[in-house]
């Protein structure tokens, strides 16, 4: 119920559009009722052979309602789609606004398993919240009221009889089918997801299945789930078929009942018999308003589930808060002080989990380079997350240009610290647009200069459309090395004084690794650099190397010192630098 009201609140600014759509929706059905009612009256009247003039109004009425119905239907569809699209736009902006502060700390979890695309489809589901959930009951209520007044005018008994069947068809039937199908529907959801998982296994894991001779077993498993799912779906189909069937039954029985009730009333002279046909046909036509209610109930359930998932994400507290400054507040870009001081930092992603970083301490003076080395999962990337203020740390202190990092707004921090990471996203846009994200003011010459420095310019100009080549999901597929070098070009364009390189050569072959390293060396000139890597490259130029294991620094020093130590660094070095 709470979810429902939150959804209504989200849609509330569109209330006038909805009122209009409801009104037009009612007028559509009203015209259908009007058409049948006036036609019935026209014929009944004509049967009494009055003068033509007496039929004039009815003839005009019949023609009017005949055209009005179509026109109103057209308008209703336009208005309600207009509302739907505006709602979609609002939902997107609302969700984005809610999720923006959470990235990447909380969204990290949603990266995998296509959860993000589920979010997108949840929002697509909710765009129909008005059209399929709110509108049908509203139109049904207004239509019901109108019919109540119309029938009541002839005889209150009609109104009560009508209302009984109307409510039964509108609420009773959906409720009954819901009760009958509840257990099966839940079962079908489970089966569907199991079948999907088995299909994923069967198709994506086919090489393993065939190699290990298990394809028949997996096939049998899939076929069993498939049979079971279809069996449940067929039974659900039989229950859902009740909706149409009972709807038709109640509509006709309502008309029949009113006819039966009308017989004594007409015979007693309480009603002019010329209205008899009108009352019966108007009743038949009015049930059109309750027929879509069954679907509305089903859609409501789907909408609530989708909304719950979205609310759950948006309701999370942002992971980073900026504290009021206690010391100097002058921006580093003004003071030119880009020294970085990390003191005794410990950090755990979730309470109760082991620390991803423990008592990390180092300092980085402008122009210096340091490297963090260690196996994956040693906590190296955590440092990048903390420095860029994607997460807040609880213990220890980080100072940037002498100021407590927590008092500097994240946007300002990210102006000073640039990141080159293997997870850089390429948007569905041209190469030029993807680069311009780093610096919207950069002109073509600046972009090309950056790409030359990143060793990617020749590759780009070799493409058929050059810098206008679309990349991203719907564009050209780029190799890991190409993406990485684009990411470096972005960092050059951004021109931040401190650079964090997070596994810049991971997943690259030797040839690409060398290209990327060359590009990096030119980038590292005149900048402070923190290199995070598990892949040992020549680190001779680095002032200090920190070797991490399970979040702890176990060795530190420069390369020649560490090689003499014969510790972990030396062992890793031996394993990796052996010739190929």
């Amino acid at each position: 119920m709470k979810t429902f009201f939150r959804l209504v609140k989200l849609a509330w600014p569109l209330k006038w559009g909805m009122v209009l759509a409801t009104l037009v929706g009612f007028l559509t059905i009203g015209s259908a009722i009007g058409l049948m009612a006036t036609s019935a009256w026209l014929i009944s009247m004509a049967a009494l052979h009055p003068s033509v003039a007496a039929l004039g109004v009815a003839i005009v009425g019949v023609r009017f309602f005949g055209i009005a119905r179509g026109v109103f239907r057209y308008l209703e569809r336009l208005v309600s789609h207009e509302v739907t699209f505006r709602l979609l736009s609002r939902l997107r902006v609302w969700f984005y606004r809610g999720v923006e502060p959470l990235a990447p700390a909380i969204l990290e979890r949603y990266r995998s398993g296509d959860l993000l695309s589920r979010v997108v489809s949840d929002i697509d589901t909710l765009q129909n919240f008005y059209l399929r959930v709110l509108a049908p009951p509203l139109v049904a209520v207004v239509t019901g009221l109108g019919m109540w007044l119309l029938l009541g005018a002839y005889n209150p008994v009609f109104a009560f009889a009508f209302l009984g069947f109307y409510i039964l068809a509108g609420v009773g039937v959906p409720w009954l089918t819901h009760l009958l199908s509840k257990r099966l529907a839940a079962r079908s959801v489970v089966l569907r997801s199991d079948l999907n998982a088995s299909l994923v296994d069967g198709i994506q894991g086919m090489a393993e299945l065939v190699a290990f001779g298990q394809e028949d077993r997996q096939n049998a498993r899939i076929e069993k789930l498939n049979r079971e799912l279809v069996r449940v779906q067929v039974r659900l189909g039989a229950i859902n078929a009740l909706q149409g069937s009972l709807g038709s039954l109640l509509t006709n029985v309502a008309a029949w009942t009113i006819l039966v009730l009308a017989i004594p009333i007409v015979r007693n002279g309480q009603m002019d018999p010329v209205y008899l046909a009108l009352v019966v046909l108007a009743t038949l036509a009015s049930f059109e308003a309750v027929l879509p209610l069954g679907q509305a109930f089903q859609y409501l359930a789907i909408s609530l589930v989708a909304a719950d998932r979205l609310f759950e994400i948006v309701d999370k507290a942002p992971p980073v808060r900026t504290l009021p400054a206690t010391g100097p507040t002058q921006a580093a870009t003004e003071t030119g002080d880009y020294s970085l001081e990390v003191k005794d930092i410990s950090f755990s992603y979730e309470p109760g989990q082991p620390d991803a970083l423990q008592n990390l301490t180092f300092s980085l003076r402008p122009g210096q380079s340091i490297a963090l080395v260690g196996e994956s999962g040693a906590g190296k990337s955590t440092l990048a997350n903390l420095l860029l203020r994607f997460w807040d740390y609880e213990r220890g202190e980080i100072r940037l240009g002498g100021r407590d990092l927590k008092t500097i707004p994240p946007e300002e921090v990210r102006n000073i610290i640039g990141l080159v990471s293997q997870r850089t996203h390429l948007f569905n846009a041209t190469i030029r647009e993807n680069l311009a994200i780093a610096n919207p003011k950069a002109d073509q010459a600046a972009i090309e200069a950056a790409c030359q420095q990143a060793q990617i310019h020749d590759f780009i100009t070799g493409l058929p459309q050059g810098y206008a080549t679309p990349v991203g999901e719907f564009g050209m597929a780029l190799s890991g090395g190409e993406r990485q070098r684009l990411s470096i070009a972005r960092a050059i364009l951004k021109n931040a004084p401190i650079l964090v390189l997070d596994e810049p050569t991971a997943n690259l072959d030797r040839q690409n690794e060398q290209l990327v390293m060359q590009a990096l060396h030119s980038l590292m000139k005149d900048r402070s650099t923190i290199l995070i890597t598990h892949r040992l490259v020549d680190l001779a130029g680095f002032e200090e190397i920190l070797v991490l294991r399970s979040g702890q620094v176990i060795e530190r020093g420069d390369q020649s010192h560490l090689l003499q130590e014969k510790g972990l660094f030396n062992r890793l070095w031996q394993l990796q630098t052996a010739p190929v």
């Binding site: 005949g66 179509g70 239907r73 198709i203 779906q233 078929a241 006709n252 999962g377 994200i437």
Partner: protein, 584 residues
């Protein structure tokens, strides 16, 4: 690739025909639906008949209707509801049957196409077609088809009934009749264009939003994330305006249809009203006609609303048929009927392999793309061979040939055992694969427990055997540390493992398999060092006493080989002992 796709895609009518021609039982249930629709249309007429009799009696003849007629009317009403249900339920049964058989056929065919076909990005699309694509047929069978039959039957029965009551009204309906198919086609074209266009626009907009969400971290990094809020609103707004432009026109066809139908009803009403006025027609007949006129057009209006189910069903079906029509490549083995094959008489303890002039080409839209050309080499029994060379040189193709995911386009592979030599092609594929343990580059984890995932190597293994294999692969310790140990569920919906952990599970599978031939496909690429040390140790144990083919880049692996074969552009570029190789 693209060219091939459009060529294989069938015309809409061909797809529709195939959808109609689905199996005997499907036709039975569709037949029931048609029969129910036929009876239903007769009952519609009978209901109108009794209703007009009753009203005529009470209104003009001062009668009391009489319970006989009233009960008959009630019976007709109940009959209508029952037929309604029978028609829909049996349509839903037909839909279920179609979904079941098509999904099974699809799966069998994909399996025949083999792992070489389903590799990589295509697998996601195939899974989606087998799941959602098949589901999309439901609405086609359970909603669209029954309505389609009613659209054929009801107007026919109604017009006959009206003729029998009043010829002139019958003529009016008949005159509007030819307009109906025109409307149908009009709606069809419009609905298709509309749903296609609208769907494209909507999916573009969704794709943009998804893109922004996925790139949110990158946007924040460059301080552009706030700016995107406006962009989202702007893009949505632009799409709204464009879509509404499309819809304004698309809805017009429905408007024309709607107005056409209601005006026709209105014409009939006025026509019989005026004739009634001059006593040219009986009230009862007039009322009967009035009741039936809207029924004449009703099915057509409904079918328009359900057209979407039809278009999306046909789109899904054409993709399904396209997959089913993809010829199983010559290189695939799995479609061969189980014919008697030369199986090694006893399970050989050791085996070797000889490639004799082996070539292989991948079929593509632009003709075959050669991957291996006339390759000769021998892997002697008990020898460890490393396969080196740049990516694209054909190394993985060699592994796939050995696993018989594909078959040589020329030349042959000979299996050497102590009991004699056999051409690989003549051996039963399943029996052969039992002799091979494969450690792929990116092992796939199934949505199942750790235990079952390792058991893949030997389905009847006891838990103790699984644990022993895990220990040998250095996987036991981390498995024991998982929340539910060996019962922990893995895969998409389960626990997430690091690259090194996955690789060690894959090694445990190979230990489980305990096969004389071991194929390692870059088993140590992309691993961090600590894992690599563990994996190398496990590999040493695994390789002991077996014939090994390893595809390798790393020195650590190469130095474990007895010989290194270098492939370049699908040809053998060198075959030498490892010592010479490193010296060169």
């Amino acid at each position: 690739m693209k060219k091939q796709k459009t060529a294989a895609r069938q015309s809409k009518s061909a797809v529709t025909r195939r959808l109609f021609m689905q199996g005997g039982k499907v036709r039975l249930f569709l037949g029931i639906t048609v029969a129910a629709g036929g009876l239903l249309s007769i009952l519609i007429v009978v209901q109108a008949h009794y209703l007009s009799l009753l009203i005529d009696d009470i209104f003009l003849k001062n009668g009391s209707g009489g319970w006989g007629w009233l009960l008959a009317l009630l019976a007709v009403i109940v009959g209508r509801a029952v037929l309604n249900w029978v028609g829909d339920a049996s349509a839903s049964k037909a839909a279920g049957l179609v979904k079941k058989t098509l999904r099974e056929a699809l799966l069998k065919h994909i399996l025949k196409l083999g792992p070489a076909y389903t590799r990589g990005e295509r697998s996601g699309e195939l899974t989606n077609t087998a799941m959602e694509g098949v589901e999309a047929l439901d609405a086609y069978y359970s909603q669209y088809l029954p309505q389609f039959f009613l659209t054929m039957l009801v107007p026919l029965v109604v017009v006959v009934a009206v003729f029998s009551a009043d010829v002139l009204s019958g003529v009016v309906l008949l005159v509007t009749m030819p307009i109906l198919p025109v409307f149908m086609i009009l709606i069809g074209l419009q609905a298709q264009a509309k749903s296609q266009k609208q769907f494209n626009i909507l999916s573009q907009m969704s794709a943009h939003f998804l893109d922004v969400l996925q790139g949110l971290t990158t946007l924040k990094l460059f301080g552009r994330s706030h700016h995107q809020e406006e962009t989202i609103a702007r893009v949505s707004e632009r799409y709204r305006q464009r879509t509404m432009g499309v819809l304004r026109i698309a809805f017009l066809s429905a408007l024309v249809m709607e107005v056409g139908a209601t005006i026709s009803t209105a014409i009939v009403a006025v026509e019989i009203g005026l004739r009634l006025l001059y006593g040219q027609i009986e009230f009862q007949s007039a009322f009967f006609v009035l009741l039936l006129a809207p029924e004449f057009y009703q099915p057509l209006r409904t079918v328009g609303q359900r057209f979407h189910a039809s278009t999306s069903g046909i789109a899904a079906a054409s993709r399904i048929f396209e997959i089913l029509d993809t010829p199983t490549p010559d290189g695939s083995e799995t479609d061969k009927p189980a014919e008697p094959k030369t199986v090694p008489p006893t399970r050989p303890a050791a085996l070797g392999l000889r490639f004799e002039g082996v070539s292989f080409a991948y079929p593509t839209a632009d003709g075959p793309r050669p991957a291996l050309e006339n390759v000769d080499f021998t892997i002697e029994r008990g020898v460890k061979i490393a396969l080196a060379g740049p990516s694209g040189a054909g190394k993985s193709t060699v592994a796939q040939l050995i696993l018989r995911f594909i078959r040589p386009t020329a030349g042959r592979i000979v299996v050497e055992t102590e009991g004699g030599n056999f051409p690989l092609e003549e051996m039963d594929a399943k029996a052969w694969r039992e002799l091979v343990a494969w450690v792929p580059q990116n092992p796939y984890l199934f949505n199942d427990s750790v235990l079952e995932n390792i058991r893949l190597g030997k389905p009847d293994a006891t838990e103790a055997e699984v644990i022993a294999a895990a220990r040998q692969a250095h996987a036991h310790d981390f498995i024991a540390g998982l929340p539910q140990g060996y019962a922990t569920i893995l895969g998409e919906r389960g626990a997430r493992l690091s690259g090194g952990q996955i690789q060690r599970l894959s090694l445990a599978r190979a230990f489980m398999r305990n096969a004389p031939l071991l194929v390692l496909d870059e088993a140590t690429s992309n691993l961090d060092l600590e894992n690599e040390a563990l994996i190398l140790d496990a590999l040493d144990k695994l390789m002991a006493g077996r014939t090994v083919l390893m595809i390798a880049h790393r020195a650590a692996l190469l130095e474990r080989a007895d010989r290194v074969i270098r492939l370049e552009a699908g040809r053998v570029a060198g075959d030498s002992a490892v010592k010479e190789q490193t010296l060169a």
